[in-house]
Symmetry: C2
Subunit: 481 residues, 2 copies
Amino acid sequence: MRESMLSEIGKYIFNPRSIAVIGASSDRKKELGGGWVGRLVQFGYEGKIYPINPKAETVLDIKAYPSVSAVPDDIDYVIVSIPSQHVLEAVKECIAKKVKVVHVYAAGFSEIDKEEGKARQKEMENVIHSGETMVIGPNCLGVYSPKNNLSFDIRFSKEAGTIGFLSQTGVGGRKLVNLANERGLRFSNVVSYGNAIDLDGPDFLEYFADDPETKEILVYVEGVKNGRKFFTTLRECTKIKPVVLLKAGLSKSGAGAAASHTGSLAGSREVWQALFRQTGVIPVQTLEEAVDQLVAVIDVPEIKGKRIGLIGRGGGFGVIASDLCEAHGLVVPRFCDETRAKLAELTPAEAGSSVRNPVEIGLGRRGLSEYYAQGVEIVGADPLIDIIITYLNPEDYLHYGLGDWADAVSRELVKVVKNTSKPFIVSFMQGRNPQVFELILKIQDKCQEAGIACYSSIENAIKAASKLADYYEFRNRERKR
Amino acid sequence: MRESMLSEIGKYIFNPRSIAVIGASSDRKKELGGGWVGRLVQFGYEGKIYPINPKAETVLDIKAYPSVSAVPDDIDYVIVSIPSQHVLEAVKECIAKKVKVVHVYAAGFSEIDKEEGKARQKEMENVIHSGETMVIGPNCLGVYSPKNNLSFDIRFSKEAGTIGFLSQTGVGGRKLVNLANERGLRFSNVVSYGNAIDLDGPDFLEYFADDPETKEILVYVEGVKNGRKFFTTLRECTKIKPVVLLKAGLSKSGAGAAASHTGSLAGSREVWQALFRQTGVIPVQTLEEAVDQLVAVIDVPEIKGKRIGLIGRGGGFGVIASDLCEAHGLVVPRFCDETRAKLAELTPAEAGSSVRNPVEIGLGRRGLSEYYAQGVEIVGADPLIDIIITYLNPEDYLHYGLGDWADAVSRELVKVVKNTSKPFIVSFMQGRNPQVFELILKIQDKCQEAGIACYSSIENAIKAASKLADYYEFRNRERKR
């Protein structure tokens, strides 16, 4: 990384004072429907905007200029949104203008399966090296910085949070932000950087590792050029901040697909798996899993070990949950005698109750059992248990009429968490009933607000808990060194 | 199995002419809310019903009797729904009455963590061996036979289908039927048989293997006593019918949980994994996966190999999908030259299209691309491809206003399947948006009607396709022997 680039990224990439858009449209509807000036305006960007269009007087009532060189002031950030064959000229102009950052939105470079694309990227590389301008892209969506009212998608949350996210891919990264936003997760800054002709994953990673507003880091890469730097930065970073890593293109065919997506050299599965192990990142395989993992990272307190206490109704579900725990590297131990004795006192010894681990106490027939909260408390007090996972099946209560079930259950869960000393994770069984779907959403939203990690399946909950336990184990071992 | 038991199961268990309920309640509301007479009446059972209650004149307006021996006629099937300490007497009476089948609903036997339960079960075993009466249970829900209007849950579909399902667990089995019903799947017969004091998994398996109305078999076991018979029956059965097997209690802790759930000896993971390999069953881990697998078994035509053609929009999703394919044992090969040439002709060479595998053609910006159907057809014609999996992301189209999107897309998908010679599987990305959830349901329902296998995530689609390919590979190898 060039000297002082860390501060330059924070200053010019995530918080530029001015943005020019090369390829702005004079067609109002088009610009508002998906143009870059339209996005800036609609997301409330407060800096100066310079639409660049040789034929337009104004774009969305903002004075337009025929070229960046025609703009009378300095420009921090330029978005290049024109066909690939004209990009090189535009970038040259930006360098001449001493623009701080160029974001090349346009695709058609090393990711396409033709010599002309690769040649175009090579040529651009040469041009960039001659100047001081930082380049993001090509073939990417650029920046989302909620606290600076800057976003490549106007549907994103305007609320700022603590997740720093670097995404090589555009559409996938956007979807990830959407999924995370829906789960109540908020970002400090996000960058989609595509083919990484200049700024690459390791640069942004280093920035987020250093950034005090970023408490967790999400990385979505297909490949990195400077693998050594990526490795060492990750290794240092995980000692202070958890890093969730979605590495796409691990397979042979996936690597081929990555080459034609972001022009990346994906690297072999073995190399990456060694990196996962040695850096202490939390590896995930899909967008959904990435979000599930972030929820655990943010909402679950430090996990001290891998011994799970399972609580729910339905003995069969308990057996399956135990199997899943073991398959994912967790342990479902026998409770200590005191716990068993207390549970035996608490629950009636009849069909549908068990004082073993998994404990069979549901939320009661009509939603709330008088035994539930106490049961969780007893299990939480067991010195042999590190985490509690509960599994609920709202569909089973539907025919009793649910009324204020969501309110009652979420109130109970919030109370339970308060009275329990151990990390507590909630999972729901989802069916295909829209009523149940919305009911679960409602409970999850309330739990989310209270900082309780909620999952749509017991398997997802177990996976996330297990990987989080791995992370803390790694971190604490590293810190002791 | 006793001589002629196969026909006895079909005759007396799934289609009894008369049913007595020991433990029927004279409280109308209670009986309708969850009593066994209530269930029979509400599900439309057409045989004779004999409520047994020493203190009642009638139950739901049906003449009651003080005991089974007081019933003047023969009884095919008796449901025992009284506290465990009185069950033995009731079973003895049934044997004396020469009842054909006794279903012991009551729990409190070998599954409870106390000597008294185990002793009670042992005692009952001795009693059973003295008579000709077949016993289902204890600790189970019994029978669901839609064509005979018989069900342990009145919410189940009244439509009969082709899946034969034997479930050791009650609540889990019920949930599985619910989940399957919601996906449009229908059953020939279902039995929940719990602790298996007499009739065990292998007995029902043998029945379903032989039953012409059963085309696919679903097995949900925690343990079996006669492992040898189970193994040989499975091995024969998979040559003619696919068997989806959910074996719960594979882990050490799961096995402990199984012991306290259905009193099963769960067996070691190694033994079961050898059974999976050698019998050609399709093993699954959760209820949701079982249903996903059944959908593939029923709706996907025979898969000839493991080479996948992937089609969707979003290069990043394609990379992840490729990784998942490889992780699940599938291959994403390079298309043959002819396919690539045809795809290159079809799709414009710009951002968001690729003629490699995965192919990037979505359903178009507004839902339907004019290239989509043709693209699938071209890929389907490639001799290097065995299955096509497509991934759709309806949320991305939401802001265009979806209107009749569901209709248009499902019409297109139905057309696509007709014109494609290869198995074609559809997957959707699900978010947390209720509008998207319902939209996907709507498309899935329409696809389901047309016999197209639909999944709520690309990973689930890939998993199901891979295991189905394994099954056909196994079956064809076995048949050639």
